[in-house]
């Protein structure tokens, strides 16, 4: 007996040494696989003797340690096997029959069998490990069931106490554990709440999850996890249409954890929905800066032992909720917002940063591939940057970007592109063909838009002849796209509107209108008034709501001494929303004061 006792001491000592090594390596990331195998070897030795109450405490401690190591290395099946063996041995020890049952029930019987013994507390840790495995493998249903059992309550209530007191009576050396079970339970609790909240939010039942999340935010836990609870509360509130309250939650999340990029991302989205552009730009700016910080990708693990919370929060729905666009996407959005809100110099700076980042060898685009990217296709990005540069009165730079787009796209373009209107019946059949056609159409649009922008550049430089050349190239490019329609009777003017259901075709029509208007304006500057009038009228046919074309048409009519017609031109302007930057009315061409024209027309008197 004494010899056996000393053997137990020896094993306990070995366990404690291993735990010491483990704690020493804690700062480093992963637990070495050799440590796990050492625990396993030790366990095999212990399990070599028949189960007995005396050394069951040691055995359970080693099982706990080994399991934690397995879980930390994502070897869940091995951990589960160990747990099952431990439960079986406990039951064997008490002489109870082993029946194939679900894990919770096995545990309950096992715990019941050792009730009122010193082992009771020890045995309570092990279901926690099962809980951790469920959580890490995203099995939320067993967790819910488990949380309803009495065992769960016992765990919540019992684990908190001092477990070492009883042990001290029997052993001279207490077997130490790699992780404090109390901490583990706390971690499991908050992670469960977060995982379940995310799941509910994903299912659209955000309001149900909100109270639990708000309660969980007061639990003791690492600050990153507390920030997550605030975040998820905010998301719930967003779903419940309480943007201001959601903003409050995000603010709390940020206060808790300053690196909570997701809160910034969500805030910017809410500001965008609220129409607060300046605040949105601010939020995006901070978000971008935060994303560029080196540690932003991996939240802080300080205060968490061995088991990382992120191991336990592996659910896909949470990952979806917590995903943040890549820094480049944020930068693009920021640049676009700046341009749209007439903060041109800032926007230009951001666009240039973006282009520089795209061409640098080691950007972070590949570093964290889980981030989603909302970056538009590169030609589109180039064209947007070109518009920004044009707005910033840098036509030469703008032209260089356009030239690059043209050079890249031009050789891919066919002589003509025929786009067929899909028939109702055979839609599925032609889907592939249509997709291909639309891909080519997009390339057409990029090239045409690049020519259009070059035309704008030249007209900004007051080189009207070159401007006419480039506008003409744009028009020539656009007329290569043909629409094949069955309904031949429909008038031409309606055709555009009918086909512009798809966004691309709408853009095509706009580009046509803008290029013709640009050419008309250039002609009028060169005093070719007849050609100018022709182009402006064609432009108005393509895009009836064109403001510049309408104004200039009136002006040209006036100059041609057709004052009555000029007066009859009423300038109707409709807002253009949802179009790409380059398909919008240029705000930088030769300007014309509409009030002056109106004034003149009023002087003309009634017709």
């Amino acid at each position: 007996m004494h010899r056996q006792q000393s053997l137990f001491d020896y094993w306990t000592q070995e366990n404690n040494d291993l735990v010491k090594i483990c704690k020493k390596h804690e700062g480093q990331k992963a637990v070495g696989p050799h440590l796990t195998s050492d625990f396993q070897k030790l366990l095999r030795k212990i399990q070599g003797v028949p189960p007995e109450t005396d050394h069951a405490q040691l055995e359970l401690s080693v099982v706990y340690n080994a399991c934690i190591c397995f879980i930390a290395q994502s070897q869940f099946t091995e951990a589960e096997l160990l747990l099952k063996q431990a439960a079986e041995r406990t039951l064997q020890m008490k002489g109870e029959s082993l029946c194939q049952l679900d894990a919770p029930i096995v545990w309950m019987t096992a715990v019941k069998s050792v009730k009122n013994t010193a082992l009771h507390r020890f045995l309570l840790f092990l279901p926690c490990l099962q809980w951790a495995i469920w959580l890490a493998t995203c099995q939320l249903k067993p967790i819910e069931d488990f949380q309803e059992t009495s065992l769960f309550e016992a765990i919540i209530g019992g684990v908190g106490g001092e477990f070492g007191e009883h042990a001290k009576e029997k052993f001279r050396i207490v077997p130490t554990l790699v992780m404090d079970p109390k901490r583990l339970v706390e971690l499991l609790q908050i992670c469960s709440v977060i995982a379940q909240g995310a799941e509910k939010l994903n299912e659209g039942r955000g309001s149900e999850a909100l109270p639990r999340l708000q309660a969980a935010s007061k639990l003791p836990a690492p600050k990153a996890l507390v920030a997550y609870t605030h975040l998820l509360s905010g998301s719930c509130l967003t779903h419940m249409n309480c943007p201001q309250m959601a903003l409050q939650c995000y603010k709390k999340a940020l206060e808790t954890d300053a690196q909570c990029v997701y809160a910034l991302h969500q805030s910017s989205r809410i500001y965008s929905e609220l129409g607060n552009a300046q605040a949105e730009i601010q939020a995006l700016h901070i978000l971008h800066l935060t994303l560029l910080l080196p540690s932003s990708a991996e939240p802080s693990t300080a205060g968490v032992h061995l088991l990382s919370p992120f191991l336990l929060l592996a659910s896909q729905s949470l990952k979806n909720l917590l995903s943040v666009p890549s820094p480049l996407s944020v930068l693009h959005k920021l640049a676009l917002k700046c341009i749209l809100n007439i903060r041109v110099p800032e926007g230009v700076k951001h666009y240039l940063d973006l282009l520089a980042a795209l061409h640098s060898e080691d950007h972070h685009g590949v570093k964290v591939h889980s981030e989603f990217s909302t970056l538009p296709r590169l030609p589109k990005l180039y064209l947007e940057a070109a518009v920004a540069l044009l707005m910033a009165q840098r036509p030469a730079d703008s032209m260089a970007l356009c030239t690059e787009v043209i050079e890249t796209t031009l050789e891919l373009l066919p002589e003509k592109l025929v786009i067929e209107e899909p028939e109702e019946g055979s839609e599925a059949l032609t889907q592939g063909m249509r997709e291909e056609g639309e891909g080519t159409l997009a390339v057409f649009l990029w090239a045409a838009a690049a020519y259009l922008l070059q035309g704008h550049c030249y007209s900004q430089l007051k080189d009207w002849k070159q401007a006419v050349t480039h506008y003409t190239r744009c028009v020539n490019m656009l007329v290569k796209v043909h629409f094949k329609r069955k309904d031949v009777q429909t008038e031409v003017s309606k055709a555009g509107r009918h086909l512009s259901q798809t966004a691309d075709l709408h853009i095509l029509q706009r580009l046509k209108g803008l290029s013709l208007a640009g050419r008309g304006i250039s002609f009028s500057q060169m005093d070719h008034l007849k050609e100018a009038l022709r182009d402006l009228q064609l432009s108005l046919q393509a895009v009836p709501e064109g403001i510049g074309a309408g104004l200039w048409c009136g002006e040209v009519l006036w100059r041609l001494d057709r004052k009555r017609e000029a007066a009859a031109r009423s300038d109707v302007s409709l807002p253009t929303v949802g179009l790409p930057l380059y398909a919008q009315e240029p705000s930088f061409g030769p300007s014309l004061d509409p009030t002056e024209l109106r004034h003149r027309i009023q002087k003309l008197g009634p017709v």
């Binding site: 890549s326 795209l358 061409h359 060898e361 685009g365 891919l412």
Partner: protein, 756 residues
């Protein structure tokens, strides 16, 4: 070719792939099949360079060289400073990017990111079959030429492909971002790609070969330009060969598309290598060559018959290298570890007939034609320039010759007889009557007896000025005429007519100066001349003097007889005679009118000599007549025009009319004069001039003297004059010498030409 084995490296596990890294390090991927782990060791075998004599050094590589741990690695590639590893892990293929370490920390590889692609289990083959074909399935493609580098490790596995093909296969975005694209084949037959530097890019499948991919490469195929690959070549283990290239004729709308042409060769394919036109592959029992140009993609899926090279057991090949002699060489490794150089048969290295697409041919023909057109245009322009320059040079040559001629003529001898000058001007004075007004016309003849042609650009200038006026004041009284010379060939003559004066207007005698002027304008363009100081070059020809003898009218025995030739003449005669009567007395009434006379005496011997040398070689009896004829003959290049009567010189007395309508009588007679000094008696020929007009008398006297003088100068030149004072004997005897005559005479004597 000989190889020297320098070192043997022994690894604890099977080597799957190896690449050269910076600082001549090797990166080696090992995989132990059963344990599914690998280590990546880097060693520098070059540092322990063993002597070739002492045999290869054996190096045992243990796990302490391991720099990265992982599972199932199969390929390595270096792109710039990024290390890429491709490997199988659990249920997916992982492409992992590492940043190459700094030289001071050679073993710290920082992971940049990783991409995963799910494994397709059904097509997965057992490892023993695929183990040989893991090598070099990962390549990197660049649009345009890959970044140039001197280090071979940076160019390994890097290919530059045609930008169009790049864009068609990998999209516009990758081309715009100038991102290299990774391309690799998997044992399940998929051909995957990933743009390396494009944010948000994901692994995509380009094509599926439906058999394990044995080789991925790029070839220029048929193009002579070695820079850019036109074609991607993918070979499957069971012999499917896919050529991916730009297909311009594919779409009827004229756009380019990526064309995938499939062919089949008898497998199994163990290893491959590709050069410009051929694919070399080993089946393990034979090494075969397939001409990629053979059939241009039309026979899809058809079995191609490669030619055998009769080399067996090859399990690895290095791309062929070309010798300067034109032969190509392959380096192959056999499964027994034998490295051998394989020389390829040259004879069969024929370049296959490769057809360019019709549009491309059309375009290049167009290009060539337009280039030819351009060159032709330029050549013809140059030709015309050269031609015109040649013509100009020829003309300038003529001009320079003429200039030299004229200049030397002007320099050598002022007094050379006009007849001897190669280019000279002669004149004929002639009276004409126009609109009831008599006027004197001078017909000048430019004679060219030089061997050169006077071409365009030359102008004959004739200045007519009275002899009496000094050069300075000649501006008002002199007049200049210019006649362009058009092609006066050697021996030719140019005849021009110059109106000299109306009757009574001009002051005779007249000096006629002839010039030849050359203008550079005819040779050079206006703008070329701007820098020149003078555009015209003036060369004096000869001067002519038109004296009173030349301008006498109606010369004959009697004036009155001749003047009645026509009624108008008669009337004129009548009027003028009446007027003269009123002033000075009757026309012929010498006795009652004031008649001025003067005479010149000449020694008959000299006269005879002179006349003999001239063509008036008449007898002594006719000396008077000869003298008269001689006087009226041409002198100093000036001839008299139509005479009143050619046969008129029969008597020794000639009557004529002077321009100022005065009657003039010239008579020649013999006089003898006694010299008191040597008391000898000498006979002289005396020319007597009589007229009612003092101007006519003076003028004629001057003219006669001038001829005598010119003649005597000639005589002086030819023979030494025996009697030095021929001309001194001339004296003026006048019945009524008055002060007017004296004055005129004085003036005439002052003229240099007289030089008495």
């Amino acid at each position: 070719m000989s190889f020297i084995l320098q070192a043997v490296l022994q690894f604890p596990e099977e080597v799957v792939d190896l690449i050269e890294s910076h600082n001549k390090h090797l990166l080696i991927a090992c995989s132990k099949l059963h344990l599914d782990n690998f280590f990546l060791g880097h060693i520098s075998p070059y540092s322990s360079s063993a002597d070739a004599s002492s045999g290869p050094a054996e190096l045992k590589i243990s796990s302490e060289f391991c720099v990265l741990g992982g599972h199932g690695l199969s390929s390595l590639l270096l792109v710039g400073s990024t290390l890429l590893t491709l490997g199988q892990r659990n249920t997916s293929w992982m492409l992992t990017l590492y940043k190459l370490p700094q030289p001071e920390q050679p073993s710290s590889y920082e992971m940049l990111g990783s991409f995963s692609l799910p494994l397709l289990s059904p097509v997965l083959l057992d490892r023993t079959e695929t183990e040989q074909t893991r090598r070099s399935l990962l390549i990197c493609l660049h649009s345009g030429s890959p970044p140039a580098s001197n280090d071979s490790y940076l160019t390994h596995g890097q290919f530059g492909i045609q930008p169009v093909l790049f864009k068609l296969l990998f999209g516009v975005d990758a081309a715009l971002a100038r991102s290299p694209v990774l391309l690799w084949g998997l044992p399940d037959g998929r051909l995957c790609f990933l743009p390396l530097h494009l944010p948000g890019s994901q692994i995509r499948v380009l094509h599926s070969l439906e058999q394990p991919v044995a080789f991925v490469g790029a070839s220029v195929v048929g193009e002579t330009d070695p820079g850019l690959a036109q074609c991607l070549v993918v070979v499957g283990e069971r012999g499917r060969v896919v050529l991916i290239r730009t297909d311009r004729s594919g779409s009827e709308t004229g756009g380019s598309t990526a064309g995938f042409a499939e062919r089949c060769v008898p497998g199994p394919v163990k290893c491959c290598s590709v050069d410009n036109n051929c694919l070399y592959y080993s089946t393990g029992s034979d090494l075969l060559r397939l001409n990629l140009l053979g059939s241009s993609g039309r026979e899809d899926g058809a079995v191609q018959m490669p030619t055998t090279l009769n080399v067996c057991r090859i399990i690895a090949l290095v791309a062929p290298t070309c010798n300067p002699e034109g032969g190509a060489q392959l380096i192959g490794l056999s499964d027994r570890g034998k490295l051998s150089g394989i020389k390829l048969p040259v004879g069969e290295q024929e370049v296959g007939f490769y057809q360019l697409p019709a549009t491309q041919v059309g375009r290049s023909v167009k290009d060539l034609l337009s280039a030819i057109g351009d060159i032709c245009e330029r050549a013809s322009a140059l030709k015309t320039v050269i031609k015109s320059q040649n013509v100009s040079l020829k003309r300038l040559n003529q001009v320079v010759n003429i200039c030299l001629l004229l200049k030397s003529a002007a320099n050598t001898d002022e007094h050379r007889p006009i007849k001897e000058k190669p280019i000279r001007c002669c004149a004929t004075a002639e009276w004409s009557r126009l609109l009831l007004k008599d006027s004197l016309n001078l017909t000048c003849v430019l004679e060219n007896s030089s061997p050169y042609t006077l071409e365009r650009g030359w102008t004959l200038c004739i200045t007519v000025s009275p002899l009496s006026c000094s050069p300075g004041e000649g501006d008002e009284t002199s007049s200049t005429f210019a006649f362009p010379v058009i092609n006066l060939s050697p021996g030719g003559a140019l005849e021009v007519s110059v109106p000299v004066a109306a009757a009574g207007d001009a002051a005779f005698p007249l000096t006629v100066n002839c010039w030849l002027v050359f203008s550079l304008l005819s040779v050079l363009e206006e703008e070329d001349l701007e820098s020149l100081q003078s555009r015209h070059f003036t060369f004096p020809l000869n001067s002519l003097t038109v004296d009173w003898l030349h301008i006498l009218r109606e010369i004959g025995p009697t004036v009155s007889q001749k003047s009645q030739g026509s009624t108008t003449d008669a009337i004129e005669e009548f009027v003028s005679s009446r007027r003269i009567d009123g002033h000075k007395g009757a026309n012929g009434g010498r006795e009652n009118a004031t008649v001025y006379s003067t005479s010149v005496r000449v020694s008959p011997e000299i006269l005879r000599d002179t006349l003999k040398t001239e063509r008036f070689g008449l007898g002594t009896s006719d000396l008077h007549l000869s003298l008269l004829n001689w006087l009226f003959e041409s002198h100093g290049g000036v001839k008299m025009g139509r005479r009143g009567d050619q046969d008129g010189m029969r008597s020794s007395e000639v009557h004529a009319r002077s321009p100022n309508e005065a009657t003039v009588k010239l008579s020649v007679k013999e006089v003898s004069r006694t010299f008191p000094s040597n008391s000898g008696k000498e006979a002289h020929v005396e020319v007597q001039i009589e007229s009612s007009s003092v101007a006519a008398v003076c003028g004629l006297h001057h003219a006669v003297l001038r001829r005598m003088q010119v003649h005597s100068v000639d005589a002086l030149n030819q023979q030494i004059l025996k009697s030095p004072n021929i001309l001194e004997r001339c004296y003026v005897s006048s019945a009524q010498m008055n002060s007017v005559l004296l004055d005129v005479y004085q003036k005439l004597r002052e003229n240099r030409l007289l030089m008495i």
